[in-house]
Structure formats: structure tokens, C-alpha cells
């Protein structure tokens, strides 16, 4: 039995269907990410699991118990908010003790647990400070400690790293993942950052327009996208419509090929028989450091994006410039067939 069972969940705001008939199982102990663009319904689903929003239809079960209409304070889940939602008039320790206090944990015991939780995010020196005296990253950690100290079955995280700068965000990604693994708590993580989702998650749920497009491991959603949306949202994809694919590639469905799986070589050079090639003209060659991004105008009449990793100094391997005739080559097994 899954820890959380979501069945046919729906929620509208006015005329907008924010969540449209969603069903999902979340397993105990997994790190699952709800990924999608803003307005795709991922945050609304999270808020319904937390109990902040009531749903219009459907049900949510936690550990077999129906919690669909329970108020937030009766659910064994806790939330880390996007802007942290620390109480500005309470010190760090009082913030972390808040949930223990509402549970009537004795004073000495709750101080001990709170200090442990604060120590676990390495912020012992801040216990007496007010939230506005902390940096963004410190607030983030305290918000995490405040939720973890309650040892919930499920921790819900609503874009918790969104406000941090890039370096800090990457550190926190590693740390969050470690905390999750060590504590064995189920994490439901909401983000619009596909790289963040792939880096941290056991499974990714891709949302679009209030619906689930695909559920799978990072490898599955990246390598075997089931819809055009998933192919395009996770990384970059060259998508050939079913007509083009049938005509030039002999495929029966829409197909996609990742830019990094295509290599360029001079026209007429030799390729393996497990490979496919098409010819075209380089429209643009953009050097972006680790990679060079080529845009090709192919003889199919479709544009193709190719990413070449710059393993050699620029100009010392076979690089091309705008206007060059090239041959784009990929291995047939690298083509992903998109069923819908």
C-alpha cells in the first residue's frame, strides 16, 4: 500500500481548473518531485495534501486513512514554505519549538528537541536571533528544522530553494537529499526547475495544465518521454512530428532526439549502420563555454539543435561555423518514440 494515495483529485479557482482529475501514489520513504511550469497545478496539489486548500472532488489517503477533508492541524504532514513563513516575532528557537508547543511537549523536552533540530542544520549559533537577522539560506534551514523536529510521516516542500542564489541552492540540494535519506522521511518536493528535480528525486511527476503528463524516475522521464510536453520541458529536445518522422525516419509516432546525442561531421563521411544521418546547413553556432550549440536547417525542412561538448580547445577539433554544410548523425537507439 502506498503511503499517500491520491484519487481523482480536482480543484477549480473560478473558471480555471487548477487541478484536473489527478491520481497518484506516493511510496513511503521516497523523494518525489512535482515538476511543472507555474500554474500547472503542482503547488495546489501540495497544498491539498497539507490541507490548506479543500478539493472540489476526489480523495487523499495517508497511510490508509482518508484525510481529504481533515484540517491541516490534524494531518501527520508538515510543510516547508516557499518564503519560509518563519514567525517574525519569535526567535529561531521559539520558531522551531512552535509545533512542539502546540503538541504540549514539556518545556525541557521541547527545548532539547529544538536544539537538536537546529544543530542538525548546523545553525546552533543563531538560536536567539530573530528571523530578520538571518540570511536567506539560514532562514531556509530553520524552516526545515522547524518542520523536521515534528518527525512527520511526510514532508511537503513548496519550492523551498527558489529564493536562494545558485551556489547556495546547489549546496542545499545535496543537503536536503542527505537529510531525506538519513531521516527516512517521505519528501514531496515542488519545483519548476527540471535540473533540480532530476538531481534530487527518486521519481518525478510532470505536471502541465492541471494534469499529470508522466510519472517516472529521472532517467525515464528524460529518456522515454511520453508526451511532447515532457520531452520539451525536461532538457531540450528535437521533436519530429509524426508526419516528418514517418516520411524521413520510417517511424510510426512522433519522435524526439536530445541535442547532446547528435554529432556533426563533414557531409559524405562514413557512418555506422546502426546510425541515421541527415544533412543540413549550420545557421548558428553559439559557444557557451562547456558546450557549443548549433542550430541546423536540415533538408527535412525542420530545425535541429545540436549540442557539442567542447572536450578540445576551440578550433582544434572538428568545429563548424555558420553557413557550413554538415551531416548530423545519431544512433537509432537514441531516438525516443512519443506515443501521444
Amino acid at each position: 500500500m502506498a503511503l499517500i494515495e491520491i484519487r481523482h483529485l480536482a480543484k477549480s479557482f473560478g473558471n480555471v481548473k487548477a487541478v484536473d482529475d489527478i491520481s497518484l501514489d506516493i511510496e513511503s520513504g521516497e523523494f518525489i518531485t512535482l515538476l511543472g511550469p507555474s500554474g500547472s497545478g503542482k503547488t495546489t496539489v501540495l497544498r491539498m495534501i497539507a490541507g490548506f486548500e479543500d478539493c472540489d472532488a476526489g480523495s487523499i489517503k495517508l497511510n490508509g486513512e482518508d484525510i481529504t477533508h481533515l484540517p491541516p492541524f490534524d494531518r501527520d504532514v508538515n510543510t516547508v514554505f516557499q518564503d519560509y513563513a518563519l514567525f517574525p516575532h519569535m526567535s529561531v528557537q521559539e520558531n522551531v519549538e512552535y509545533g512542539l508547543r502546540t503538541r504540549k511537549v514539556p518545556k525541557a523536552e521541547r527545548a532539547k528537541q529544538a536544539l537538536e533540530a537546529i544543530a542538525s542544520v548546523k545553525l546552533e549559533e543563531t538560536v536567539n536571533r530573530l528571523p530578520h537577522q538571518l540570511s536567506g539560506g539560514q532562514r531556509q534551514r530553520i524552516a526545515l528544522a522547524r518542520a523536521l523536529v515534528l518527525r512527520p510521516r511526510v514532508l511537503l516542500l513548496d519550492e523551498p530553494l527558489g529564493a536562494l542564489d545558485r551556489q547556495l541552492r546547489e549546496e542545499m540540494q545535496v543537503e536536503l537529499k542527505k537529510i531525506q535519506r538519513d531521516a527516512g522521511i517521505t519528501f514531496v518536493f515542488v519545483t519548476h526547475d527540471q535540473e533540480e528535480a532530476m538531481r534530487m528525486s527518486d521519481r518525478i511527476v510532470v505536471f502541465n495544465s492541471g494534469r499529470i503528463e508522466q510519472v517516472g524516475t529521472p532517467e525515464q522521464v528524460y529518456e522515454e518521454p511520453r508526451t511532447n510536453f515532457v520531452a520539451g520541458f525536461l532538457g531540450t529536445a528535437n521533436i519530429f512530428s509524426v508526419d516528418v518522422a514517418r516520411k524521413f525516419l520510417g517511424a510510426t509516432t512522433t519522435v524526439s532526439i536530445r541535442p547532446e546525442r547528435i554529432r556533426l561531421q563533414a557531409p559524405g563521411t562514413k557512418i555506422d549502420k546502426s546510425e541515421t544521418s541527415i544533412t543540413g546547413t549550420v545557421q548558428e553556432a553559439a559557444f557557451v563555454g562547456a558546450n557549443t550549440i548549433y542550430i541546423l536547417e536540415t533538408d527535412f525542412g525542420v530545425k535541429l539543435t545540436v549540442r557539442k561538448t567542447n572536450t578540445e580547445l576551440l578550433g582544434q577539433d572538428n568545429s563548424f561555423v555558420a553557413g557550413d554544410q554538415v551531416m548530423a548523425v545519431w544512433r537509432n537507439s537514441h531516438i525516443a518514440q512519443i506515443p501521444v
Binding site: A50, G51, F52, P71, P72, F73, N78, T79, F81, Q82, D83, A85, L86, F87, P88, H89, Y98, G99, R101, T102, R103, R146, A147, L150
Partner: protein, 293 residues
């Protein structure tokens, strides 16, 4: 011609003030300082001086001098002491009732009411400010007079109003000054980020606990700000007592009665509400709330 001198020529007054910050400061503050020092401080100071003067019992003429008789009287005559305490009690009651009404109303308006209802309530709170002060007092008088609305309404239940007395004065003053409490409290509650309410209930707090542990501490500055108005305005009022208080006397009533007969006594007695307000502000300052007003 350079760009810089173009700028100077086109805005001669602005550039003059920009180059002379002292002149700028003087021209900014001369008018308000004249008002505050010339009218406010000087008249208060004259009031204080008058309090040390005497009234000749035969001619009824005020004669300058220096004696503490008026102050001694204010602090020893039982009627004066009783009136001071009564007035303090009324002002504190008005403030307390305003807080008790404003906090739940503010929470309802800011967090529960639909936008249209919220707007109606906001108008309903502020609308009485447009009516004249005396009009409102007379309205309360009409409601609670012997044959008034209240007794008519309650007659079937066999309930009669208390008549013009201290409770009605408190009620009238609460009615008069409630907007000064309700508006800052409502604004403060609206400014609390919605996430804090979610976070509180997420960590197991029910509604009342959230109000007690999160909302109230965050709106203390607004309550103090509102109470400075409700408290000091009640303290200085005497028309409410006069028209709805029956025999009730407040500090203002006695000052008003003496202002022609014995100005030095009136002056000495008016130091009492000033002292109350100063003490109140000092207490408020200690809570650190005045900085945020």
C-alpha cells in the same frame, strides 16, 4: 554650453536648494516649527504658569504669583481625586472594549470576509467619522434616554437601560473612538503574510492558538497606536459625560466648569490628564511599539 549649466539654468530654484542644504532644511521646517513651538508648546507653558496663579476671592480677578495651592487642592480634595480616578477608569474601559471589539472584527475582515463584505465593513467603520462629534453624542443620548429607542426595544423583554450613567458614557466614547482602534488593527492583520496562518495550522495550532500566539503579538504595535487615540481622546472628553452621563463628572467636566470661575484651578487640574497621557506613552514606549507607529 555644457549640459551641466543647462540643467542649472532650467531649474534655478531646485539647484539653489540642492547646493544649500541648510536653507533647504529651514524652509522645510519653518512653518511646522512655528506652529508647534509658537502655538502648541507656548500655550501649554502658559497653562502651566497659570496653574500657579491665584484668584482674588473678593474681586474674582486672577492675580499672578507663585503658590502650590491649586495643585494641593487637586491632589487632596476627595471630589477631585474621585473624578480623576473615574476618568482614568472610563478611558481605560473604553480602550479595553475597543480592543476586544477590534481584534475579532479585524481578523474576520482581513481573513474570512469576502472582498465585497470586507469593503462594506470598512466603510461601515469609517462612516461615523464623517458625522459630527456632537451629532453622535446626541444620537447616543436619544437611544438611551428614558423614552428612547433602547427602552422601547427592550420593553417586551422587561429590560430597562441603565439611564444616563458611567456605562453609557463608556459606550458613547467607545462609539466615538472605535474607528481609531479598528482601522490600525485591521490594517495590521491584513499585513500578516497568509503563509504564517498556514504555517501555524500546519504545526498543529488551532484557530484560537494561532490568534493568541501569532496574530496578537504581531499586532501589538497597532493596538498600542490605536489605544493612544482611544485613551487620550476619552481622557480629555467632557461632552459625552455631560449629555449621556447624567450626574457623571469627568476631568473635562470640572475643567469646563472652572474655566471662567477659576482659571488657575482649571489649569492645575488639566495637568492630570496630561500626566496620565505622558505616563501612558512612557509605558507604551517601553514595549517598543511607538517606533513602528
Amino acid at each position: 554650453m555644457s549640459t551641466k549649466s543647462d540643467f542649472k539654468d532650467s531649474r534655478p530654484i531646485s539647484s539653489f536648494f540642492l547646493r544649500k542644504p541648510k536653507v533647504r532644511l529651514i524652509s522645510l521646517l519653518s512653518l511646522p516649527m512655528t506652529w508647534i513651538v509658537g502655538v502648541y508648546i507656548v500655550s501649554l507653558f502658559l497653562l502651566l504658569i497659570t496653574a500657579f496663579w491665584n484668584v482674588d476671592p473678593f474681586t474674582s480677578r486672577v492675580s499672578p504669583g507663585f503658590n502650590l495651592e491649586n495643585f494641593i487642592m487637586v491632589f487632596t480634595v476627595p471630589a477631585y481625586i474621585a473624578t480623576s480616578i473615574r476618568t482614568l477608569f472610563i478611558a481605560l474601559s473604553v480602550t479595553a472594549i475597543c480592543v476586544l471589539l477590534a481584534v475579532p472584527l479585524g481578523i474576520y475582515m482581513a481573513k474570512i470576509a469576502k472582498p465585497w463584505l470586507r469593503n462594506i465593513l470598512a466603510v461601515a467603520i469609517t462612516l461615523p467619522l464623517w458625522a459630527g462629534y456632537l451629532v453622535k453624542i446626541i444620537a447616543m443620548r436619544l437611544v438611551f434616554t428614558e423614552e428612547g429607542f433602547f427602552n422601547w426595544l427592550m420593553a417586551p423583554l422587561g429590560i430597562r437601560g441603565p439611564g444616563f450613567s458611567i456605562p453609557i458614557v463608556i459606550l458613547t466614547l467607545t462609539y466615538l473612538w472605535f474607528p481609531y482602534m479598528a482601522l490600525p488593527v485591521y490594517t495590521a492583520i491584513r499585513q500578516i503574510p497568509p503563509n504564517l496562518f498556514d504555517a501555524s495550522s500546519d504545526m498543529g495550532a488551532k484557530g484560537f492558538t494561532t490568534v493568541y500566539r501569532v496574530v496578537i503579538p504581531l499586532i501589538v504595535p497597532a493596538i498600542i497606536a490605536g489605544s493612544v487615540f482611544t485613551f487620550s481622546l476619552s481622557l480629555g472628553d467632557y461632552l459625552a459625560a455631560r449629555f449621556t452621563g447624567g450626574a457623571t463628572q469627568m476631568i473635562g467636566s470640572i475643567i469646563a466648569a472652572n474655566i471662567n470661575l477659576n482659571p488657575p484651578v482649571a489649569a492645575a487640574y488639566s495637568m492630570i490628564p496630561i500626566a496620565f497621557v505622558v505616563i501612558y506613552l512612557m509605558v507604551a514606549r517601553r514595549t517598543g511599539s511607538l517606533e513602528r507607529m
